[in-house]
């Protein structure tokens, strides 16, 4: 790869990481606190009365889902707010006037979202260790699912940032789409508990595949096969990246 591209990509990525680390109280602390509360309330207090789920304690069962929930939320919101803020303050123009190609701009922003999501994934995992001994069935599966999921939602966040005209616009999708899909994505329950009809409806929820893929990496058990989850993640990533590339390359929302 051309050295300009490597330097530019590194610069955008470092800038993105510096941004979320500079405001760590807003970006890193809240997920740690929220997840601690989930572990205490759902895991320790209510979980003890629930008993086992798919052969694991309730706490063991929800840990991968809760980590994945943090990864999804943070990768999305990192890029949507950073890209929109660059549009709002007009510093996106610094990139538009420079010789950086569109795909490098995308990778830089997405890389920032993936970095934040990974860091939060590690923080939440560390928090979970205070409540339960975390099993690891396959580290490779965990890493692949984490990277593909955070890349997917970081890219989706960028598309949100492209279309957003106000700060409200970047909170609409997380509030009204991502959160419900995540809660209904099998974070807190096994899909096998649902009636057949609702199991079929859940199959339409893409987050189900990510949560289950991730859970497979930790527990070695899942409602859905990892191959299916992996294939869908790759297809979704290709689609959203193509859409994001077209939008930014055409200058939608950033060039007049």
């Amino acid at each position: 790869m051309n050295s300009l591209y490597i330097t530019a990509l590194k610069t955008i990525w470092i800038k993105e990481c510096t941004r979320f680390l500079r405001i760590w109280v807003q970006t890193l602390v809240p997920p740690a606190i929220t997840m601690t509360l989930y572990f205490i309330i759902f895991g320790s207090l209510i979980g003890q009365r629930i008993g086992t789920m798919d052969g694991f304690t309730y706490m063991e069962f929800i840990v991968p889902g809760l980590i994945m929930m943090s990864i999804i939320t943070n990768s999305y919101s990192n890029v949507s707010s950073s890209f929109f803020s660059a549009k709002f303050q007009r510093n996106i123009e610094e990139l538009l006037v420079s010789p950086v190609p569109t795909w490098v701009i995308l990778l830089g922003f997405i890389g920032g979202g993936v970095a934040r999501a990974s860091l939060i994934g590690i923080i939440v995992t560390i928090v979970s260790l205070f409540f339960v001994d975390v099993n690891i069935h396959s580290f490779t599966v965990i890493v692949i699912t984490l990277l593909l999921t955070s890349t997917l939602f970081a890219t989706a966040g960028l598309i949100n940032g492209v279309f957003a005209k106000t700060f409200d616009d970047i909170s609409v999708v997380p509030t009204f789409i991502l959160t419900p899909l995540t809660y209904l994505g099998g974070v807190f329950y096994s899909l096998t508990l649902l009636p057949e009809f609702w199991q079929s409806v859940s199959a339409l929820n893409p987050i189900v595949y990510m949560v289950n893929g991730f859970r497979f990496g930790f527990l070695g058990a899942s409602d859905i096969s990892f191959t299916t989850a992996l294939s869908l993640l790759i297809v979704f990533n290709a689609i959203v990246f193509f859409v994001a590339y077209r939008l930014v390359d055409k200058g939608v929302g950033i060039r007049t």
Binding site: Y5, T11, N91, P99
Partner: protein
């Protein structure tokens, strides 16, 4: 070699507003070029197209023989832009802003840090390198944008109203800095509403109005076309009774007169007439900057032409 070559440039915004209606423009390498025009004339749109911030509707732009369509990366490497509006991240430090900008042009971080020190020092911002951009005064923010635009050492610098809203001391230090870098070989294109600035700094000029170029010549040639200048005389007393034969004279009050002086006549006959009438001249000044008079005339005639269309 031409630093900038624009042919048949057009821009129609969504909604049908035609901001640029077929501009042809050529700026030579090493020039200090003024692009002037009233608000809404199409200056910033033209600059936006040159710098890839605005998608053009038709025409072509090339920079140092690199066509934007064919070799956009090489063309962009040649340009440094100082935009009209502040467009940096207000929460980043000055050093972060300029070092990152260099990175977008492929300048390795080590070299970028050396250049940051060089340009921030030259623009008297080095002491503020760790301050957040939002903490700077307006003049400092303008200088920061100049430093940022120079970080990849472009061959051409485009400044869109760089001295808007800055005090005269800062403005003068920016003028001398721009003159210095122009002498070092950087081509400069300047848009400004301070016509004194354009007259003092620029060698060539284009005046744009309603999306078309109404004048494109050298500053000297343009100023030579000004055959009448208006002077304002502050007179101690009885200014309203003064008559100067052969000169158009207007009394503004009992202490001030305006006199239109044809270049061929000079000021001597005016002073003679004033002495003969025992008028004590306390002070004298140009009513307007010379370029300003020409600018107003050209824009007025362009308005009349379009009204007659």
């Amino acid at each position: 070699m031409n630093a900038l070559q624009i042919s048949g440039l057009q821009k129609t915004y969504p909604g049908g507003v035609k901001a640029v209606k077929g501009i042809d423009l050529c700026v030579e390498q090493g020039d200090f070029f003024a692009l002037l025009g009233p608000n809404g004339a199409g200056k910033s749109t033209t600059i936006g197209v040159i710098c890839s911030l605005v998608n053009k509707s038709a025409g072509s732009v090339s920079v140092f023989d690199y066509d934007f369509e064919k070799e956009p990366e090489k063309a962009k490497q040649c340009i440094g832009l100082v935009p009209q509006e502040f467009n940096f991240n207000q929460f980043e430090t000055l050093e972060q802003i300029v070092v990152n900008q260099a990175g977008y042009y492929g300048v390795p971080r080590g070299i970028a840090k050396e250049r940051a020190e060089k340009y921030l020092k030259q623009l008297e911002l080095w002491e503020k390198r760790s301050a957040r951009a939002r903490e700077l005064s307006g003049g400092m923010k303008r200088r920061l944008m100049i430093a940022r635009a120079l970080m990849h050492e472009p061959k051409m610098l485009i400044l869109d109203e760089p001295t808007a809203g800055v005090d005269i001391e800062v403005r003068r230090s920016m003028w001398s800095f721009l003159q210095k870098i122009n002498e070092q070989g950087i081509t400069i294109i300047l848009t400004t509403h301070y016509l004194e600035e354009a007259e003092m700094l620029c060698r060539n000029i284009a005046i744009i109005d309603k999306g078309v170029i109404v004048e494109n010549t050298s500053m000297k040639a343009l100023l030579a076309t000004l055959n009448i200048e208006t002077f304002v005389f502050d007179i101690e007393d009885n200014a309203s009774s003064i008559v100067i034969d052969g000169f158009e004279t207007r009394a503004l009050d009992n202490h001030t007169i305006e006199v239109d002086v044809p270049k061929v006549e000079g000021l001597n006959p005016v002073f003679e007439a004033l002495s003969q009438q025992d008028a004590k001249v306390m002070s004298m000044r140009n009513k307007a900057n010379r370029l300003e008079e020409l600018f107003v005339r050209l824009v007025e005639s362009s308005k009349k032409e379009s009204a007659g269309e």
